[in-house]
């Protein structure tokens, strides 16, 4: 709704950037239609951000969020009733639509701007650049909002009482895991259940392991299938994941519980008394599913999912993000994207919580919590940043075969078989 939580001109926000937009545009009477995956609370936050665009330019913003965004946007774009902008949670889908001519490229110069203004700018440009209908690469996607994946959540209190220390390396993490088992506890909570999308949390694990066992170039090759899915390197990464998930002693409920426990329920084990587990690897959004009243920093905290000390791969970070793409251009749309580039648009959400950004020009003070700021730091300190591979793979793989393959793997199939199956599937779509 239109209620603005922060008065214009007050606080640590970059109000200058707001004023620039306000001065440059007068769009009264125009509308920007946007659809995206944010619903519920996130939609409310986004609406608040957008309301500043309205107050600056006079243009109305209609954002509607949908749980089945991926399906909805394809239908509406194909049938010619697409909104002006779409917020894609996965570059893969955007690339698909770009190749079908359903997206309009961003204004010239956007690529340069991103390169200059985003941390690790080139990688964001690459992630937003796809082949159009004619096979020419164009920049279609502007990233706004980043999720950080390489986090392990824990209860500081439980750690404290048990005297556990935050592991700095993967080796230490494995030792800690064994130690917890020795002391009669269960170290991990892992849940792959997510209805039709069951299995996706496991893909994150595998991607993390890829980044921690192989060079980033290998990761990139894997994403594009230059390196086959059944490459021994990939299989090794899968088995690294299996070392955690397929060990009955390591996971709450035993290995068989992994596949069908809802990912939204799985973190609650951290907070039960006695604890059902001590560790939970999941992206930055997961606190939304912690029990009511859980205070970040106090009752729950995170640490970086560490890298192997004996591999010289630095501190790789896995992330994901949403991007804006034009599905139906208009004057107001162009203006809106300008607004999205402005630091204020990022700060306004940072101040509401649950938002990370790669925009270098924002004022970190506007992060509402320390923990977010800390995540921001992880992002900033990353030596390697890679985007979620499954989001980049073709839908049938990244949002299909990969998911189900991982479920098969956790329920007993061998990594080779699973990887081979996925590769076969990949072969059929080329």
């Amino acid at each position: 709704d239109g209620h603005q939580p922060f008065a214009v001109g007050e606080g640590a926000f970059n109000w200058d950037s707001y004023n620039q937009i306000a001065d440059a545009y007068d769009l009264s009477g125009q509308t920007v239609e946007i659809t995206g995956p944010w619903t519920g609370d996130e939609k409310a936050k986004a609406d608040k951000v957008f309301s500043y665009f309205t107050s600056a330019t006079g243009a109305t913003v209609n954002y509607s969020g949908s749980d089945s965004f991926e399906q909805d946007i394809v239908i509406s774009a194909r049938s010619g009733s697409a909104p002006n902008l779409a917020v894609f949670p996965q570059p893969g889908l955007a690339a698909d639509m770009a190749s079908q001519g359903l997206l309009t490229p961003l204004a010239d110069g956007t690529a340069d701007w991103v390169r200059d203004n985003y941390a690790a700018g080139q990688s964001w440009v690459d992630l937003g650049t796809y082949a159009d209908q004619n096979g020419e690469d164009q920049m279609f996607g502007l990233f706004y909002r980043v999720d950080l994946k390489s986090l392990v959540w824990y209860s500081p209190e439980a750690f404290d009482e048990a005297g556990y220390d935050i592991p700095e390396t993967m080796e230490e993490l494995k030792d800690l895991t064994d130690l917890i088992v020795e002391e009669g506890g269960t170290p991990w909570c892992i849940g792959l259940g997510s209805g039709a999308a069951t299995g996706w949390p496991a893909t994150d694990w595998v991607e993390e392991m890829m980044l921690r066992t192989q060079a980033p170039e290998d990761y990139d090759a894997w994403v594009t299938n230059e390196m086959k899915f059944d490459d021994p390197k990939v299989i090794a990464a899968i088995e690294e994941f299996g070392a955690f998930a397929r060990n009955d002693a390591y996971v709450d409920g035993g290995a068989s519980a992994v596949a069908n426990t809802d990912f939204r329920d799985s973190p609650t084990g951290l907070f039960s008394i006695p604890p059902k587990c001590y560790l939970h690897r999941q992206a930055s959004f997961i606190p939304a599913f912690f029990p009511e009243g859980t205070e970040l920093g106090e009752d729950a905290d995170f640490f970086y999912f560490p890298a192997f000390a004996d591999k010289d791969l630095g501190k790789p970070v896995l992330g994901a993000g949403t991007l804006f793409a034009i599905t139906n251009p208009s004057e107001a749309t162009t203006a809106f994207l300008e607004f999205m580039k402005a630091p204020i648009a990022h700060e306004l959400w940072m101040a509401q919580g649950g938002f990370l950004t790669a925009h270098a020009g924002v004022n970190p003070e506007t992060y509402v919590e320390d923990s977010l700021r800390a995540q921001g730091d992880i992002l900033r300190n990353a030596t390697t940043f890679r985007f979620d591979a499954s989001d980049l793979m073709p839908g049938e793989i990244g949002a299909g075969a990969f998911w189900t393959g991982m479920v098969d793997y956790t329920t007993g199939a061998s990594a080779e078989d699973v990887a081979k199956g996925i590769q076969e599937r990949w072969d059929t779509i080329q």
Binding site: E42, I273, E292
Partner: protein, 374 residues
């Protein structure tokens, strides 16, 4: 039939008992959902719904503010009440999260590093530590929590913004989307059942075949079509879409019912001078009430619970949301795992269809055709 003499009571009993058994079998899952709809998410994942009416022993954590530490010899001591003055009854307690029920109330639990903890039933505790107390210690205890039901989930749904509009929108979609296909289908069914023309068998086959067309295939071309003719995403569009999608089943059900009507009655009406139109409206339609009512129930249910068609054919702004969209995208959205809300949503959306079912059930009458022919 109800008048038949000497129905055996044993048989009646057996019938009653089997029905009770079936009803219970059918009801158990739903009862689970109903009960869960009154509980919050944490409770739902803490204990089974069948235990919810009973008090359960649950473990809690109480933080002890380290403020008023008292020195007692070599020990640092904190005293107080874990309920901080409130009511409560401790059953067991412990000093470590990993062993929250180490000792019974009133006993003293020896903790690591020579610390000890005593908690009375009423929550009074004494915490003793040989070392200085740096961090607020926690006491873990178990207590019987009484069953906790609330209407919160329902409140969340019913009083969330614009739920009234969504409700009205849903009705706006469902009512025409129920009536119009029935009407069109009834005519077609009559033609397929009682009119003689070439290609009738083929048409029937086509209708049966179309029953199986997956909706998803049709969405894009249809929305394209609607955009082309200028309907776009609108209520008119969704009515038409539901009509199209509902027709095969409607025609199929109605036709099958109508062919069962006695031929003599229809012929008699024709001899009485009725045109086909009149035969249809005055004879066939009234006599087909059971089939019309059955189909109305199903079409209503289907449109009422539909999410996909609503999302595709209605504009995506909040003013046009129907309840399913509202619940799926707005209320559940980021809270996909909130079973309590899901459960209450399921129950709220069940209410109207059940009312429809009850009202329509009256038309599923016996002996509608009795006395008409020998």
């Amino acid at each position: 039939m109800d008048n038949i003499a000497g129905t055996k009571p044993a048989l009646t009993w057996a019938v009653n008992l089997s029905v009770i058994f079936l009803v219970v079998l059918w009801l158990i899952p739903t009862v689970g959902l109903l009960v869960s709809s009154f509980r919050d998410r944490d409770q739902i994942s803490a204990s089974g719904w069948w235990l919810s009416p009973f008090a359960v022993e649950q473990n809690f954590q109480a933080k002890i503010p380290a403020g008023e530490v008292r020195q007692d010899g070599a020990f640092f001591v904190i005293e107080g009440n874990i309920f901080s003055g409130g009511e409560g009854e401790v059953i067991r307690f412990g000093g470590a999260r990993s062993n929250p029920t180490a000792a019974a109330a009133g006993e003293t639990a020896e903790l690591t590093r020579d610390r000890s903890l005593t908690v009375q039933e009423n929550g009074d505790f004494v915490y003793r530590s040989p070392a200085e107390i740096k961090r607020d210690p926690s006491v873990y205890y178990s207590t019987a929590t009484p069953p906790d039901f609330s209407l919160d989930n329902y409140q969340t749904i019913l009083f969330s913004n614009n739920m009234d509009i969504a409700f009205i929108n849903t009705l706006t979609v469902t009512i025409p989307a129920t009536i119009i296909p029935i009407l069109i289908a009834a005519f077609a069914a009559y033609a397929l059942a009682w009119m003689d023309f070439a290609g009738r068998g083929l048409l029937i086959a086509v209708v049966v075949g179309l029953l199986v067309v997956p909706l998803q295939l049709a969405l894009v071309p249809l929305l394209q079509f609607h955009n082309k003719i200028g309907i776009g995403q609108s209520f008119l569009g969704i009515w038409m879409a539901h009509t199209g999608f509902g027709l095969p089943l409607a025609i199929y059900l109605l036709r099958n019912y109508m062919v069962g009507l006695p031929r003599d009655i229809i012929e008699s009406a024709k001899v009485d001078g009725a045109t086909d139109f009149q035969v249809f409206t005055k004879i066939v339609l009234p006599l087909s009430f059971p089939a019309l009512a059955s189909f109305a129930i199903f079409q209503f249910l289907w449109t009422w619970n539909d999410l996909l068609v609503a999302k595709v054919f209605l504009p995506s702004n909040a003013e046009s949301w129907v309840m399913t969209v509202k619940i799926a995208d707005d209320l559940l959205g980021s809270r996909g795992g909130d079973w309590g809300i899901l459960a209450s949503a399921a129950f709220i959306s069940i209410a109207v269809p059940l009312i429809v079912f009850f009202t329509m059930q009256r038309y599923l009458v016996r002996g509608l055709l009795a006395g008409s022919v020998k």
